[in-house]
């Protein structure tokens, strides 16, 4: 039963009431129900817990089950954490649940088998979350409550101090003071641009008009990035609170929008629920907490177009039009949605806002580097042991993120590059691993922060092929409005394909560079403006690989099919790993201890054998190499 809050001071009363109604001795079984864990069976684990708790007569006073948002460590999902002891169980399956209830919940024992152990050291088990290297080096500011609260329960959010920042802002600060605080905090846009958030708000506040809008961008189109989804999914009220504060600061805002990708069903569901609950409590809607401040938040579902991450294209899409960008002679902060001043912030940016008011500007400024304050959430993916979401202070080195938190490259393969910033970013080689991660350092080195995807690549990834992949993606996603982007990307792709298939000549690299410049300079929006980055950065750091493709007709990674052939080396012990992996039966087993035979005619060069071979018994040669 929800009673509307009619005064700002009633929020604290409600919080006390919620806390008092909760028994502090109750065990809390938190099951990560982020998309990653759900995909690995978390919902079934939840159902199993419900069944077992009642079958083994564990009542709600003893243990409470909680479906939380993403804990970040997707690689080990489904994750179950039992609090307050913080016992961390990984890869929990339905069959494990009866034993967890009987042994851990009822008898208080820890189940060794389900604990995490550091790779290469199976004996040393980590009982608690904080002992796991993946979590130990992180600093969770935005993500802090994700693993504790049920995203569909507004009471959970209020219990951890939610909406207190809103009350603080509404009762003690003038709108200009709010903006000054954000400017002072040094918060910069987390969606990629890194534009100072406070200045953006100021510009909308200063723009003339009695109708203004706030828009939250959750159209996370960057392949390999999913932090915005996880925040929206795991802690939607944090984003709503950030939007409320933004709307108050800008002034004359009574309507706000959240633009969410339709591919994110749970984020959508939780956002709808959050809006409904916040309205019921009087934290959203008309006359919020009886302060006279009004804000309604609506949800728009994206139609699946990468270009809609661009501000003007996103706004066109909200207006029910084709998502094409327009020239920004006048910024959207002055003329945006329906021609009105509009503040557009990314999910993670808005999620930082309540934290700044909760902990104070000085505290916030103490985290990070000179030009980039606070933390950043990265999606650490690709060829890395610990795939997941990591929140780290700005200024941490790439090496710490990838090697310490991420646990390095799996299967004894060699690290080759890390791609940051998504399709607009660039690839950085091993020599750049000690680079401090912040907005300015990454840009200086030819990559960018972007929305925070960090894709790790190993020796089995071809840099030319990777560049081709990004250009193909962008070519497809280009809205087609301006020629340099539409035609230029196609021309770049053609050259890259020629290189990958051995048809290119060395002069093509120069042509590539010229085309890249034309696309960068000639495009209207940042999709085209940054599209050449994957090519330019890989040319900068991996030029020899391009040249090798062209002159030696050889792809050392074993990816570009037209150039390569696989050969079995004499040291092959016939372990059958490749034999099992081969989809076309091109590998013949000759008995244990004897090398397998590869039939070239049947081989489609898919590389499945190379992926599984951990004995270095396969060799990649150029097809033109007739040894």
């Amino acid at each position: 039963m929800i009673t509307r809050l009619n005064a700002t001071q009633e929020l604290e009363g409600l919080r006390q009431q919620i806390l008092a109604s909760r028994n502090q001795d109750t065990l809390r079984i938190t099951v990560c129900c982020g998309t990653g864990c759900i995909a690995q069976g978390a919902k079934k684990v939840v159902e199993a817990f419900k069944r077992e708790l009642s079958a083994q007569n564990v009542n709600a006073e003893v243990a409470e089950l909680k479906e939380t948002g993403c804990h970040g460590f997707c690689e080990q999902g489904p994750i179950v954490v039992i609090r307050p002891q913080d016992i961390f169980y990984k890869k929990v399956q339905v069959e494990d649940v009866p034993k967890i209830v009987a042994r851990t919940i009822i008898n208080g024992e820890v189940m060794e088998r389900l604990l995490y152990s550091v790779p290469g050291n199976k004996k040393e088990k980590c009982t608690q979350e904080s002992q796991i290297p993946f979590y130990a080096k992180q600093e969770r500011v935005v993500f802090k409550n994700n693993a504790y609260i049920d995203p569909t329960s507004i009471e959970d959010y209020i219990a951890v101090g939610g909406y207190a920042s809103l009350v603080k802002v509404l009762t003690t600060l003038q709108s200009q003071q709010v903006i000054d605080t954000i400017i002072d905090s040094g918060l910069r846009g987390r969606g990629g641009g890194g534009f100072p958030t406070g200045w953006k708000w100021q510009s909308s506040k200063d723009a003339a008009g009695d109708i203004k809008f706030v828009v939250c961008n959750c159209d996370e189109g960057d392949p390999g990035a999913f932090m915005d989804r996880s925040i929206m999914e795991g802690n939607p009220h944090l984003v709503l609170e950030g939007m409320l504060i933004a709307a108050y600061a800008v002034g004359n805002v009574s309507e706000a929008y959240i633009y969410i990708r339709n591919e994110y069903p749970y984020a959508l569901k939780h956002a709808y629920k959050a809006i409904e609950d916040a309205k019921a409590y009087g934290l959203l809607g008309d006359n919020i907490l009886s302060t006279g401040f009004n804000l309604d938040i609506k949800i728009c579902r994206g139609g699946g177009a990468f270009v809609c991450g661009e501000s003007t294209a996103l706004m066109a899409s909200i207006e029910g039009k084709v998502g094409e960008p327009r020239a920004k002679y006048v910024h959207t902060s002055e003329k945006g949605l329906w021609g009105r001043p509009t503040v557009l912030n990314n999910v993670e940016t808005l999620a930082n806002v309540p934290v700044i008011f909760e902990k104070g500007v000085e505290w916030y400024k103490s985290i990070g580097t000179e030009g980039s304050k606070g933390t950043k959430v990265f999606a650490l993916v690709g060829k890395v042991n610990n795939t997941g979401l990591v929140e780290v202070p700005m200024g941490i080195s790439l090496r710490e993120v990838i090697m310490d938190i991420g646990g390095g490259v799996p299967n004894k393969k060699q690290f080759k590059a890390v791609q940051t910033g998504g399709p607009s970013g660039g690839c950085l080689p091993e020599s750049k691993l000690d680079l401090a991660v912040d907005f300015d350092e990454l840009t200086k080195n030819g990559s960018m922060m972007g929305s925070g995807a960090m894709v790790v690549m190993d020796e089995r990834n071809c840099m030319v092929d990777t560049a081709r992949y990004f250009i193909e993606f962008l070519e497809e996603e280009s809205c087609g409005k301006c020629t340099p982007c539409r035609e230029g990307l196609r021309a770049i792709r053609n050259i890259l394909m020629d290189i990958c298939s051995g048809k290119a000549e060395l002069e093509d690299i120069d042509r590539l560079e010229k085309l890249c410049l034309a696309v960068t300079e000639g495009s209207l929006c940042q999709l085209g403006g940054t599209a050449a980055n994957p090519v330019l950065s890989s040319l900068k750091y991996f030029r020899s690989e391009y040249e090798e493709h062209i002159t030696n007709k050889y792809c050392r990674a074993g990816v570009c099919k037209d150039l390569i052939a696989f050969y079995i080396k004499d040291n092959c012990p016939g372990c059958v790993l490749c034999y099992k992996a081969c989809p076309t039966w091109a590998i013949i087993y000759n008995g244990k201890g004897v090398p397998v035979t590869l039939i070239q005619d049947k081989c489609t060069k898919c590389g499945a054998c190379l992926d599984v071979c951990n004995l270095d018994a396969l060799e990649v040669r150029s097809v033109y190499d007739n040894r």
């Binding site: 998309t35 990653g36 759900i38 995909a39 690995q40 997707c74 690689e75 999902g77 996370e220 189109g221 960057d222 392949p223 390999g224 990035a225 999913f226 989804r229 996880s230 339709n262 591919e263 994110y264 069903p265 728009c300 579902r301 994206g302 139609g303 699946g304 177009a305 990468f306 899409s317 909200i318 207006e319 029910g320 039009k321 084709v322 998502g323 999606a379 993916v381 690709g382 060829k383 795939t387 997941g388 791609q419 998504g422 399709p423 894709v455 790790v456 690549m457 990834n461 990777t466 992949y469 990004f470 993606f473 996603e477 809205c479 099992k580 992996a581 898919c606 590389g607 499945a608 992926d611």
Partner: protein, 161 residues
């Protein structure tokens, strides 16, 4: 795959379209959302439904058509009983998604973006579904099948009716 689509009965179309328009308050600003809901009704966007939406909202059919063809989420042709979306995000790409897609294509005998003759499968690619720990993966009728290897694909397809 240019199969002739039979014309639908306008009354039946309107019975499905009207409640959607009602829900969105006949607001043409919500066009993307409206088309998403209409597509959820039909499994694709039939020509008749686009006409109905344009007429009821009082906007040009060309505008409805431009939106329906711009966004990836919309399909103007009927889709198969099973939707297979192979994730081509960066994380899946570096873990060999191209190989997975190729296997699906040869196994079913259609290219990405097509529907099989018997209307059983629609094979599509998707940018990134954000379940990168599971890559390479396919979203099969809204369920994730992760850690794919080429030899797992045949059993997955055989499992479907």
């Amino acid at each position: 795959m240019s199969k002739q689509v039979e014309a639908l009965d306008m009354q039946e179309v309107l019975a499905k379209v009207n409640p959607v328009l009602e829900k969105h308050g006949y607001d043409d600003g919500m066009l993307v959302g409206i088309l998403q809901d209409v597509q959820a009704q039909f499994n694709y966007l039939p020509r008749e439904a686009l006409i109905a939406v344009a007429q009821r909202l009082g906007i040009a059919l060309s505008r409805v058509f431009s939106v329906a063809t711009f966004f990836k989420a919309f399909s103007l042709t009927p889709r198969g009983r099973h939707q297979l979306q192979v994730c081509m995000g960066t994380a899946c790409h570096v873990r060999g998604a191209a190989r997975i897609l190729e296997k699906f294509e040869t196994q079913i005998g259609i290219k990405a973006g097509q529907t099989s003759e018997d209307m059983k499968y629609t094979l599509e690619t998707v940018g990134c579904v954000g379940a990168c720990a599971l890559g390479p993966l396919v979203v099969l009728d809204n369920e994730f099948e992760g850690h794919l290897t080429v030899d797992k694909i045949e059993p997955i397809l055989e499992r479907l009716d």
